[in-house]
């Protein structure tokens, strides 16, 4: 089993989360086993797998919401000294449109953990939320209702909410589902930029192979016989992918982007 480090750079990156022989499931139902990998600071990791294979289960374990049934998960402390802070971007479809909240209202929720119990968001929180909206290019939409925004814009508001928390790790669950090419491009370019400019550690989970392999630097496949984090070039050879999926898969470059076809 290969273990890849984020370091193309000579300096060793800090491990943030380490899974060792982890088994995940609910009650008697075992969903995933044999998970061993490390997420390093500054990683841009994509986890690819079909629906139903356990992506959500793995995410929950990464976030610390689900305890392993076997094996061990170790986490580094967050930048502030406490536990790791996650910026979580859920699937857009899970958000209920009916709530009459503005974009700023939604982003402000990302600050609630930092604000803490018994207190209200203050000027700093508002400023940070507006800054996050600016980071995603939606500063002008702060006072618009979330439900009046387009799908791509809503996705960006959810990203701003995750960023407003000043997270150690940005986690995105199927960020481009149901999007047209333009919106998908805009979303992934934004994630690329956030990773590049802020050195943010990014974890993207998706079932869309081509979306992931065109952007991330490391990739792991769920549902495959062995789960391993590999540099994307190594993991996306035609041989590896064909073996993984059991059908012939060709990989090429189009406009400088890695593309797989089957």
């Amino acid at each position: 089993m290969q273990q890849a480090s984020a370091a193309d750079e000579p300096a060793a990156a800090t491990p943030l989360i380490r899974f060792e022989g982890v088994e995940l499931g609910y009650g008697r139902k075992r969903v995933l086993s044999g998970l061993s990998f490390t997420l390093y600071a500054g990683d841009y990791l994509g986890i690819v797998g079909p629906n139903g294979v356990g992506k959500t289960t793995l995410l929950k374990a990464v976030l610390g919401v689900l305890r392993p049934q076997a094996g061990r998960v170790t986490r580094a402390p967050g930048r502030g000294g406490g536990t790791l802070t996650f910026g979580y971007v859920p699937q857009l479809q899970t958000i209920d449109e009916i709530y009459p909240l503005t974009a700023l209202d939604v982003v402000l929720m990302g600050r609630y953990r930092r604000v803490g119990l018994f207190r209200r968001p203050g000027k700093t929180d508002h400023a940070r939320s507006l800054a996050a909206l600016e980071q995603v290019g939606l500063a002008d939409s702060a006072t618009l209702l979330f439900r009046d925004l387009s799908g791509g814009q809503r996705q960006r508001v959810l990203m701003a909410r995750a960023l407003a928390a000043d997270p150690d790790i940005l986690v995105l669950d199927e960020p481009t589902n149901g999007m047209d090419p333009a919106a998908e491009r805009a979303t992934m370019d934004l994630i690329d930029r956030l990773h590049r400019e802020s050195g943010l550690t990014v974890l993207v989970v998706s079932h869309l192979l081509n979306v992931v392999i065109a952007h991330v630097s490391h990739i792991a496949f769920l549902g495959a016989s062995d789960f391993a984090v590999l540099p994307v070039a190594e993991a996306t050879t035609p041989e590896h992918l064909s073996r993984l999926y059991g059908i012939p898969i060709a990989v090429g470059q189009v406009n400088g982007r890695r593309v797989a076809t089957w």
Partner: protein, 283 residues
């Protein structure tokens, strides 16, 4: 034909009814915003029905034990709260979630509670009158002590919502993300249901199932039609829970018709007006 307001509200019981109604209306309308947005309207009516079954159960138990208990006895409160808690627990567990949608538990709870209440009261001396009162509102018979009890419960509920408004909102709007960033979403959900349940249990004794349920639904829907932002929907809804009470009680006095029903119809009239306004705005 039309009595003066002074005449209508000159008596003690009308004043008590007004106070009780406004308190119940305000609090239920506030919580109702959550109930409507979380799409748990049916839970509201089921909890109300279970609470009143709890009152019936307490009275029946008293009868069986040979105790004399009239319906204003504080022990009925125990019955209402206990059954309310049973309801909250029942509705939060996903029974056989794969085979049967969770929502059905709520329907079962409602139907069984309604039937149980009727059966328990069937042989009591006051029987049907009790049940009618529980269902349609005994706001004109409310005692001062019951008003105080409701106000105390309301104060506790209001305090919880004042302190934890943002957490409750986050957990309602996006429970998945709340979970992911470290909130114990289940506990916050439970806290919300407890505040809802306590409000309902104390309110039905004062106002009856019909009025309580109506206040959980009509004012919030009206408020959501009238306002664009959630921040404003809460206070507008509370105000809309208060306004119809005075008007409805006055009309019920003048026309000599059941008061709870009157209040509900006035509330509905406000809803229609808001709906009309909303349509006009769009045009």
């Amino acid at each position: 034909m039309f009595a003066s307001i002074q005449e209508a509200f000159g008596s003690d019981f009308m004043q008590h009814a007004l106070l009780a109604g406004m308190a119940v209306g305000a609090l239920c309308a506030y919580l109702g915003v959550y109930v409507v947005l979380k799409r748990i309207v049916f839970v509201g009516v089921a909890l109300a029905e279970m609470s009143s079954a709890g009152v019936a159960l307490a009275l029946w138990t008293a009868g069986v034990l040979g105790l004399e208990m009239e319906e204003h006895n504080p022990l009925t409160m125990v019955g209402a709260v206990v059954l309310m808690l049973v309801g909250v627990l029942l509705f939060s567990v996903r029974w056989s979630a794969r085979r049967v949608p969770p929502e059905s538990t709520i329907g079962v709870g409602y139907a069984v509670a309604a039937a149980a209440g009727l059966l328990l009261m069937a042989h009591s001396a006051k029987g049907e009158a009790h049940v009618m009162q529980l269902l349609f509102g005994n706001i004109l018979y409310v005692s001062v002590r019951e008003i105080w009890e409701f106000l105390a419960a309301a104060a506790a509920v209001a305090l919880v919502h004042l302190l934890f408004a943002k957490e409750l909102l986050f957990v309602a709007f996006d429970p998945q993300t709340a979970d992911a960033v470290g909130y114990r979403t289940r506990r916050w959900e439970l806290l919300f249901y407890l505040t809802l349940g306590v409000t309902i249990a104390f309110a039905i004794r004062v106002a009856g199932v019909l009025l309580v349920f109506a206040m959980l639904v009509l004012p919030p829907v009206t408020a959501l039609l009238l306002t664009r932002h959630l921040r404003r929907a809460f206070p507008v809804s509370a105000a809309l829970g208060v306004l119809p009470v005075g008007i409805g009680l006055y009309l019920s006095y003048v026309r000599d018709v059941p008061s709870a029903a009157c209040i509900v119809i006035v509330s509905f009239a406000l809803l229609l007006a808001a709906g009309g306004l909303s349509l006009l705005r769009r045009a």
